[in-house]
């Protein structure tokens, strides 16, 4: 029922307006993506304190924080009355998720690649002290990785990447979902104080997102500590 309602509302918004909306937010996200402060801070923390819980936090907080930051302009810039609001919120949620993924991507990839590269270097050093020449290392150790078992390693790396990304995306989705739900409540005039309900739901969403971010950060820092 809700999905049907959303679909109807998306259609009533009009594609032209939707495209404009998407373009505007794409530009906004690109600008934010280029804005280096957040990412640099995250990377610095990651480099200096790989083992602390702080190491995992920035990666997952970035999408959540962005979602929050973008909720406000969304409401201010597009005060679409009545029926269109929840549809816009759905589009907006999709865009936020995209932005979240984009923001987390470079940091995650760098961390994963660095970890992978470090392991390889240590193993190559060990191989050298075992008397293996560079040619032997390439043939027996490194080349071996790209065949058979190494495919597993790549797959594992890819899975880990998504695993690291997912909590951030879920956090953003929770935030946007609660906002959308609030908008729907507004639309349907559910309860006598819809604004209060929306605020409450949003708070719950923020708490859930924060808890999820902290949990996943702890999990990642633990995993890093064990060097896996």
């Amino acid at each position: 029922m809700t999905a049907k309602l959303f679909m109807e509302e998306i259609l009533t918004v009009g594609w032209e307006r939707l495209c404009l909306f998407c373009l505007f937010f794409s530009a906004l996200f690109s600008a934010l993506l280029l804005f280096p402060a957040g990412r640099l801070a995250a990377e610095r923390v990651l480099r200096k304190n790989r083992r602390g819980i702080a190491a995992g936090l920035p990666v997952h907080l970035i999408p959540a924080v962005w979602s929050l930051v973008l909720l406000v302009p969304a409401h201010c810039l597009f005060p679409v009355p009545g029926t269109n609001e929840s549809a816009l919120a759905v589009c907006f949620a999709a865009l936020v998720l995209f932005a979240a993924a984009s923001s987390a991507y470079p940091v995650c990839v760098r961390v994963l690649l660095e970890g992978y590269a470090r392991t390889t270097e240590a193993e190559v050093e060990t191989a050298r002290t075992l008397g293996m020449s560079d040619a032997m290392i390439r043939r027996d150790l490194l080349a071996g990785r790209t065949r058979g078992k190494t495919r597993e390693a790549y797959l594992l790396t890819l899975c880990r990447f998504f695993a690291e990304l997912v909590p951030g995306m879920v956090a953003a989705a929770i935030l946007m979902g609660t906002d959308s739900f609030g908008a729907l409540c507004d639309l349907k005039q559910v309860g006598r104080n819809a604004a209060f309900l929306e605020a409450m739901l949003l708070s719950v969403g923020i708490l859930l997102a924060a808890a999820l971010a902290v949990f996943s950060a702890g999990r990642i820092s633990k995993r890093r500590k064990h060097g896996t």
């Binding site: 193993e123 050093e125 060990t126 050298r128 002290t129 075992l130 008397g131 020449s133 032997m136 390693a153």
Partner: protein, 434 residues
């Protein structure tokens, strides 16, 4: 493979600090015996081992194992790690994680077994691999991935892999850190036996006293990237010469001193002004060491001896047998000097004194030995599993307590509670440089 002289080891290297490592200034020359680099995690021990293994390049120096020069900055020679035949077990190292134990061994066997890097026959490889697995008690584990091994099995497999490459020297960087108690002692013994049997010299780096004692004939303390001289193991543990060495060797009672003159130091932490003179035996030992460095000058020696005698007469002339060396609030701390004994001046660079907790005596030593008597104030007794620890202030002005340790089998708590004075033989006091 031609036999080679692996007894003499020269490690002389300097390296500036860079992004990854500490600055190093190391000079170690060993002729026979296995060496332990004793230092904490920041001492630069891993960096030294990495330089020996060829993984890092020093700025200058020389590293030679017998007749083989591994690195020489003057000759601009630097052997690559693969040709050094130096096995290196880095701290926290692991097996190649995606390969089974057997595959790990096979790589080492095919790499290190032959100078030209060609692969040995398959059946020969298999035989060698089985034999190594048997030797290290890893039979039946060859097909397992490293993640399925226990910690002790991993350590054994790492050693097995390292020895499979037939090294001429083995470098061990704190390899037992993940092992506990009995497990560690067992594996340590196994490894030592194996290396001794194969006649492979080793350099062990770590910060655990028991491990150092078990693994080394010679000990070299590394402190902030600098080597502080090499001593025989027992001599080091009995009389470390530096503050860092004393801390590492487990000396509990350490205090900085200020040298007042040739025979007196103040020890503010213990509220003492102490007078110490090393006895003839010690002086003689040191003189012999010095003789190798410089020719003795008889005129100077006579002059020095005269000066000492003069000082003795003026400062301590009143006591012929027991010299009163310190007066503090009416208490005398006496250092008894056997008549006619020749004493030597305190070293100029003395920075601290140390007394080991187990070196205190509760009874006055017999005549004929020099000793220091200390009063016991503000005592606190702590009971441990097999020992009693007495913490006390050696005087009213003392700021820091001294610790005395007794075996429970030797004394009970009540007896220790009634002790009024403790004694320390003069030759048990450690004179420490910075």
């Amino acid at each position: 493979m031609a036999p080679e002289n692996t007894k003499d080891l020269t490690i002389r290297l300097r390296k500036r600090a860079d992004g990854t490592g500490k600055a190093l200034d190391v000079d170690i020359r060993v002729s026979g015996g296995n060496l332990c680099l004793f230092g904490d995690a920041d001492s630069g021990r891993s960096e030294v081992l990495r330089c020996i293994a060829g993984l890092d390049k020093p700025d200058e120096g020389r590293i030679a194992l017998g007749d083989r020069v591994l690195f020489d900055s003057m000759e601009e020679s630097c052997l690559p790690p693969a040709l050094r035949r130096v096995g290196y077990l880095a701290e926290g190292a692991g097996l190649f994680s995606r390969l089974t134990v057997s595959e790990n061994l096979r790589l080492a066997l095919s790499g290190g077994g032959r100078e030209d890097g060609s692969s040995p026959e398959k059946h020969a490889l298999k035989e060698a691999e089985d034999s190594i697995l048997r030797d290290f008690g890893l039979d039946g584990l060859g097909g397992l991935l490293p993640e399925h091994l226990s910690k002790s099995q991993t350590v054994l497999a790492l050693f097995a892999r390292m020895l499979a490459a037939k090294p001429s020297l083995v470098l061990l960087d704190n390899p037992f850190r993940d092992l506990g108690g009995y497990e560690k002692a067992d594996i340590l013994e196994k490894i030592r036996e194996k290396l001794t049997k194969e006649r492979i010299p080793w350099i062990f780096a770590g910060n655990d006293r028991d491990e150092i004692y078990a693994m080394g004939d010679l000990v070299c303390v590394l402190h902030e990237g600098k080597s502080e001289g090499t001593k025989k193991r027992d001599a080091f543990f009995q009389s470390p010469e530096t503050l860092a060495g004393a801390i590492l060797s487990g000396c509990e009672n350490l205090a900085p001193v200020t040298r007042l003159d040739a025979f007196h130091v103040t020890v503010p932490d213990w509220g003492q002004v102490l007078c110490f003179r090393r006895t003839e035996g010690q002086a003689q030992k040191e003189t012999e060491e010095e003789k190798t460095k410089e020719e003795p000058d008889p005129a100077k020696a006579e002059e020095k001896s005269g000066a000492v005698k003069a000082q003795e007469k003026t400062a301590h002339g009143e006591a012929e047998k027991g010299l009163v060396l310190r007066r503090n609030e009416g208490e005398d701390i006496a250092l008894w000097r056997p008549p006619g004994e020749r004493w030597k001046e305190l070293p100029k660079d003395i920075a601290a004194v140390g007394i080991r907790a187990e070196d205190f005596l509760l009874k006055e030593p017999e005549e004929g030995s020099a000793y220091l008597a200390l009063p016991v104030r503000d005592r606190k007794i702590r009971e441990e599993r097999s020992t009693l620890d007495l913490a006390f202030l050696p005087g009213a002005q003392a700021k820091k307590p001294l610790h005395l340790r007794m075996q429970k089998s030797e004394m009970n708590k009540n007896e220790l509670n009634s002790v009024e004075k403790v004694y320390i033989s003069e030759n048990k006091i450690l004179w420490l440089r910075d």
